[in-house]
Amino acid sequence: MNITTTTEQGLIIGRVEKPEAETVSIYLSAQVCPENSPAITAKMILFTELLLSGTATFSRDQIQEKFRLLGSNIDVSYAAGRITLTVSTLANKIKPTLTLLTQIINNPAFSLAEIKRAKQTLINQLELAKEDAKGIAHAQLNNAFIHSSDNRYKHSPESLSLCVTKISQSELKAVHKLFLNRQWTMTVGGAESSLNTVIQTIKKIKKGYLSEIPETVVAALDSHKPAQLLQHEVKSKQNLELSFGAALPLNLQNPDLAAFQFGLAVLGKWGGFAGRLMSTVREKEGLTYGIYARTEEIGLTATGYWRIMSFFSPKDVKRGITSTLREVKKIHEKGITTSEWERFIDILKTGERLTYDSLSSTTALVHGNLLLGRSWVDYQAYRQKLYSCTQKEVNLALRKYLLPQLVVISIAGPVGKAKEDLATLF
């Protein structure tokens, strides 16, 4: 695969070229909102639904039927102030798919009937989200570090529901205007001719609009927030979902980030069984099915937090938390071993290599980096830095940034069943 990233006519473009690929994947994102509130988030989520709910020419049903007949998929999502369109199609259907995409981007209808329907559907979906214990545990932890006006803050389903009914047609049209005039980041994966066709079309769509970059206000995180236990009752679940973590005063430009991420991988590499937490808390102690760690919400200039994700049964939750914190403390104090350092260089290299076996995974990887403000060249440089971290650098980073005394523990699920055990933790 041939991968390049460039900036052309205000567009940030990623190209993932695979000769003779039969499929095409397109990601198109715009950072729309510089700040956050329940009203803003609700409006953005409703907008993503309505962008696919009819154009000046076609009804919602007609759009869906046309995509179906082409065998193409389109999805619109919103997260952290950003709207993303994801399109997948066969290479031989790329032109009609792009014709439809152009219609959708340029001329959404925002009909009152569709707005009414979409509001009702969204409120019903938010009702379901109240039972998503894993999502709630993560959101509680996230919100312990991030201010509610920051677009990375995750507003509750309850607060979003209250705002949905108040959104007007003119507000949705204003969001559309903003979307068109923001800088777009696009990544395309496929054969060369497909890439050229997609990029030309998107450039053509964008030609009449601005490419503004919003002044996103990111509040500095409190990296000394004291340890605490956050709980949310979801009675219908059997297990307690947990997110552990602490604020991390590092961004993508910080030279310590690679060493810290290397160390965090040794502690709990995301996916698989290689991390220490999997071999101790899961394998040796049998306390959970999966336990992983990674950094979250870090940007080019924004700092984020590190997080461990797992779940325990109510009867094992005290032991599970104690074991997890023991491993955090151990790696903070003693660092990684020489054997771990040597092995994880290979493990991390293999992980990157296996990604390239899949066109769609590679395209997603490139796009994710562009959204972080990292070109492909920058990403490659980062990977090299990761592979060249010394054991000493990793251990210094863990000592400095993985602070057990600051770990916030967020739990969602049947917390009532573990009330007494949890009360003894803090």
């Binding site: 019903n124 049998g286 306390l287 290599r353 076996d357």
Partner: protein
């Protein structure tokens, strides 16, 4: 010796070519019956190997549900050779030293283990699979903590109302056929497993003549086969494993119902229908019929239930199992309706779907399914995963017939399929009520 001659020798001495369909060839190791499916994807530097044992949840005895899945976990424990060098399980070391992608999964008809890795590790991957086919040491020291993990996994699934419904639905839908329990088993059964039960299952089913080894990726044929022969040829087959008894489920003579009540806020109506096994024409017809009902925001039930605010979501599950199984519609209700009213409405909507409407919509659902196939074959890992289902059904060559199977479906087939699937005396209905 020239490369060509060596290739010919390996093939004729150790393997017989069974057949080639498309770009996949099937070989059989003469020594013990191990079958190999080989597909070359050059220049990627990556290989996926996948070994599928034709033993799954259907092969378990009463009171031992989930045993196949428990054993799957135990194959990540040390073998005799690992213990000899006082090391962790070789499969785990493979990940912890090299970073391979590895995992396993158990289903109704099969249990599958896979590795995806840089091609220079091919020999190691094959040696690990051969070693753990017969030599895992099953002891309480390894088994007891792992059983706690499986119980934790069970609780993870069981916290999902749809899983709880599924457990009860399959139990009600099957009186005799062994598809009547979920793959992970019942919690009470998991708590009563013993090492002896695991050992019996392992000894019987984990045999070369009951396994299919897939090699997908950037590795030459002759190297693949000679490495496999070196590692597997000494393993003993088990003759009796080849005769899995065929069980015919007694005829269903009326609607069956199950109820679950739990604390919470979710209310779900589940409608389970019986469909032909995979990859028969009827399985594909069922898939398209269910897509027609639920697949995208403008499908029939989405329009009439979600858009009207009666349901907050509709999901469908259909498994590629060898024999007749159930597919299930899960409809999450809003507070605007009741389970009874929803059941009446859904069945009425399905009865009233006319041929003209199906004829209009069908080409789109077929085209979309064909496009999904192209995306499902995006990497060696995905190709192996898809091929696994065809292999477990005993017809790997049908991997190449998906297009043909989908394109021959007519509107009349879908109309007839909907009628037979949703015939009221053949349904199993589940109600999940929160209090």
């Amino acid at each position: 010796m020239s490369k060509t001659l060596k290739k010919a020798n390996t093939l004729s001495k150790s393997f017989r070519l069974i057949k080639t369909v498309g770009d996949i060839s099937e070989y059989q190791l003469k020594a013990n019956g191990l079958r190999v499916l080989y597909k070359n994807i050059p220049d990627t530097g990556v290989v996926t190997t996948n070994i599928t044992y034709l033993a799954g949840a259907r092969d378990e005895q009463n009171g031992e549900s989930g045993l196949a899945h428990m054993l799957e976990h135990m194959l990540f424990k040390p073998t005799i050779s690992d213990l000899n060098i006082k090391a962790d399980a070789s499969a785990m070391r493979f990940e912890r030293e090299v970073g391979v992608v590895l995992n396993a999964n158990t289903w109704k008809d099969r249990t599958t283990y896979f590795f995806s890795y840089g091609k220079e590790h091919f020999k190691r991957a094959i040696e690990i699979e051969a070693d753990r086919m017969r030599n895992v040491v099953l002891t309480n020291k390894e088994f007891l903590p792992e059983r706690t993990n499986v119980l934790s996994e069970f609780d993870m699934y069981n916290g999902d109302p749809k899983f709880a419904l599924s457990v009860a639905l399959v139990s009600a839908a099957f009186f005799s056929h062994p598809y009547g329990h979920e793959t992970i088993g019942f919690r009470e059964d998991i708590e009563s497993y013993t090492i002896e039960k695991l050992q019996l299952f392992y000894n019987h089913y984990y045999r070369p003549n009951n396994a299919v080894l897939m090699v997908i990726g950037d590795i030459p044929l002759e190297l693949a086969l000679s490495t496999i022969a070196d590692s597997f040829a000494h393993l003993e087959p088990e003759v009796s494993v080849e005769t899995r008894s065929h069980i015919t489920e007694p005829k269903q003579e009326g609607i069956r119902r199950i109820n679950i009540e739990r604390p919470g806020t979710t209310n779900i109506l589940a409608i389970a229908v019986k469909h032909p096994g995979f990859p028969a024409a009827g399985w594909y017809e069922t898939m398209i019929a269910l897509k027609f009902l639920t697949d995208d925001v403008c499908s029939t039930l989405q329009k009439k239930l979600v858009d009207t605010g009666l349901a907050s979501s509709i999901e469908v599950s259909q498994e590629p199992t060898k024999d007749t199984n159930i597919a299930t519609l899960y409809i999450t209700l809003t507070n605007k309706t009741t389970h009874t009213k929803m059941e009446e409405l859904v069945l009425k909507i399905i009865r009233e779907i006319d041929l003209k409407h199906i004829a209009k919509e069908l080409p789109g659902y077929i085209t979309k399914s064909l496009a999904s196939e192209a995306f499902n074959r995006d990497s060696s890992l995905q190709i192996a995963a898809e091929l696994t289902e065809f292999t477990a059904a005993g017809k790997w060559e049908e991997y190449f017939s998906v297009k043909e199977n989908l394109n021959r479906i007519t509107p009349k087939d879908i109309k007839q399929r909907l009628k037979s699937l949703f015939a009221e005396d053949q349904l199993t209905i589940g109600i999940y009520k929160s209090f």
